[in-house]
Symmetry: C3
Subunit: 323 residues, 3 copies
């Protein structure tokens, strides 16, 4: 399990002292158990008020960010995430894709919110695909998922989501190819924003031509968006990669992203198209015009920026005057 | 072919006296034929006015409901559905997914609406996948489909759809696994409603841990929604199930549902996550806050409700104050 | 490579005199190269002002249309498209799906717009799937793509898109089955329009029962739509066709289409359902009621129109009174 924040991979302390209710406890009485008794790893996230209208998760109280740290797991791992709520509002962690009992649902319905000044440990298990007794296949947990508040301001965490309290959660299958750089995380919404920013303050992701790069794209809020990337395409499946030359899946470069939809893909930066400034943007015209656009800067293999790329970067702020 | 309404499977009378135009009739002249001459089964649906603003389909005039009865077929069957319009407005049945000639299109364009006090028999055929003469594959009919009015209030049945005149239509491939309970049917919209209700009056689906359960999710109206289920995930394909351990399809727990989009899936209730109150909801924040949320109550394998589940149920009405 | 406009396939002049920067030029300095040095084919598109609020692409200055000519390629081909801007506004060509360097990005960001009275050659390469050095699969270019202006009225070409400056771009894999008729192109949006028209002025596509027909469906603008076709279904993959009898992909007859989303499929006209007037329409009720609907007229195999089809055609204008 790796926890990443921004461009820096962060070592995670081994688990110590997380109180877990044994899973063997009767399901009918007593508090609900967690999904695993001995998590493989533990991480602490701090819930922080960043400004009057922004909240976020951070690996320390002073490094909270929007989006929060990207969580990564390999199928089979169990992760304990302790939320220390240093903010002034009720918060939680609700995870998509992974296994958790109602004790880690992160909802008021299941009494798993965290009041200001308190903390709570959420336990998330992942598992590999396997065969059930009846012969059917139990799917594995791998996917481009996400986690977010589900408690602030109401039963669905709308105030938390609107404030930036979310992050990507990537679960890999053993043997999945790894990207050469930290995943590029793109939250579309809430509002006509990318990672709560408008161009030209949206992320400029950088890579060298030929590197294997990875996008994780997640929707949030009330709007529907479409994610488009210039010069690159991906397969519409779990990884964005084809399994073989005859794979019948559709190749796409544009995809509808509704609230809490998430997907991801790996591509080779500049493959067949070369280096330069490649836009990614919401293709809802009113949204891109309002600032839902950013850059994938592909430099030359030696790390140098091309002349065309340099000029495009100079144009960028003037090009996208959403300040 | 099974016809289900609510939780009760209903036996369907064998076909008697449905007048069908022979398919061999010249296509160029005379009234259009139906898609099969001798349907395997016949069912009568009554079109009923339920209240000033609600209409519905029912297996009897007094049991009409929203959604209407869930129709089920096995690929290869042919079903005759007679609509007896006991309401005060023009109605029809337009089916998705199955085969029908223009005589059963259920549209004013093809003269297949039913005036108040009249009746009409619609004939729907399903078929298994097979090879065409040119070697290409003709897909089978299996899918999570739906049927709805296409005549009330205009050429597209908007008044009918807005009044609740719709139901699920599930076609299975021979050999498909069957759920242990009647399918859980979730119509998202019209409006920010589930099955025309707002929480806490939306469906609470019940199952025991370990049971194979099935959701059919269908959109209608003007809005786009996303369907999210807590604690459970499914494959983004025809059945929600993986064919084998290496299947490259994406696993999802959230999906965009546009008007008339439909999909379904089977999961094992509580698999790997245990019993309790698992929310399902639209993840468009304004929609869930307005009441587009419901519960999947997973009890223990012996049928007992867990302490945590019992408490969540007590919280439910207070939790979702949309009355 | 074929270029089609309307129902007529148009022969394309062999390339002559297109100045291309050698791809071997240093990526770090000088103008960016194009994606291929010697395109297999060349076509000229004229950018034309059609009316106060409509612009379009045409193979000649007097035949510009909305949508513009459908471009088609077989994987492996390289196409040079010269845009001669005879309009009074800045225009470009931005292509989806195919390979192009930043020199052919068609954006102001990458200095590839065309001012009124000027011209510019965009170079688009397609490629077959193949294996990368690391053993992973590089997907081929085949898909139902599109091209559109990205310069008129702002950095995202919103004024161009809203004026009709777009066309379909179909790339086929060698061996893909070809349709018996020119592809039926359906642009959903901008606004509640199909190909910038409202019913009854939307396209009436004609085919004979048993013909292999092809739809290419593309979204544009600010709205989300769903595409529904009566009496026909397709697989939710690259081609709409199943690869084999056990293919687990979902069969659909309704699909969400967000801005710049695109997909296509082939079906056999009237297969299993017979001839007649089959509606296609946006299933967002307010959009279909506002005129986002059209007809697939399936005639008998001998080309004769059925009596039912003839009557439906007579009803069509009265049925859809959006003039």
């Amino acid at each position: 399990m790796k926890v990443r924040i921004g461009a820096a991979a962060v070592a995670v302390a081994a688990l110590a002292g997380v109180a877990l209710v044994p899973a063997g406890l009767s399901a009918l009485q007593g508090p609900p158990p967690q999904v695993c008794e001995e998590p493989d790893r533990a991480v602490t996230l701090y819930g922080v008020k960043l400004s009057e209208r922004r909240y976020g998760y951070g690996l320390t109280p002073t490094t909270a960010s929007i989006p929060g740290p990207t969580l990564e797991m390999i199928e089979g791992e169990c992760l304990a995430v302790t939320l220390v709520n240093e903010s002034d509002r009720r918060m939680s962690i609700h995870a998509h894709g992974v296994d958790y009992t109602v004790a880690s649902d992160g909802t008021a319905l299941n009494s798993s919110c965290v009041r200001p000044g308190r903390s709570r440990t959420y336990v998330f298990q992942s598992h590999q695909a396997g065969s059930r007794v009846d012969g059917s296949v139990r799917p594995g947990s791998a996917g481009y998922w996400h986690y977010h508040d589900h408690c602030m301001g109401g039963p669905h965490g709308t105030a938390g989501i609107n404030s930036g309290v979310f992050g990507a959660f990537i679960v890999r299958r053993p043997g999945d190819s790894l990207p050469d750089r930290d995943p590029f995380v793109v939250f579309m919404g809430p509002g006509s924003r990318i990672n709560m920013k408008k161009a030209p303050n949206t992320p400029i992701f950088r890579a060298r031509e030929g590197e294997r790069i990875e996008f994780a794209v997640i929707g949030h809020g009330n709007q529907f968006h479409t994610f488009h990337l210039h010069g690159h395409r991906w397969a519409d499946n779990r990884t964005g990669l084809l399994g073989d030359l005859e794979d019948p899946v559709a190749l796409i470069d544009n995809r509808t992203v509704g609230p809490a939809d998430s997907f991801g893909f790996q591509v080779i930066a500049g493959e067949g198209v070369g280096p330069g400034a490649w836009m990614y943007h919401c293709h809802v015209q009113g949204h891109s015009d309002a600032g839902m656009t950013g850059l994938l800067m592909v430099d030359a293999p030696d790390g140098g920026t091309t002349e065309a790329g340099r000029r495009a970067l100079m144009r960028w702020k003037r090009h996208e005057g959403h300040v």
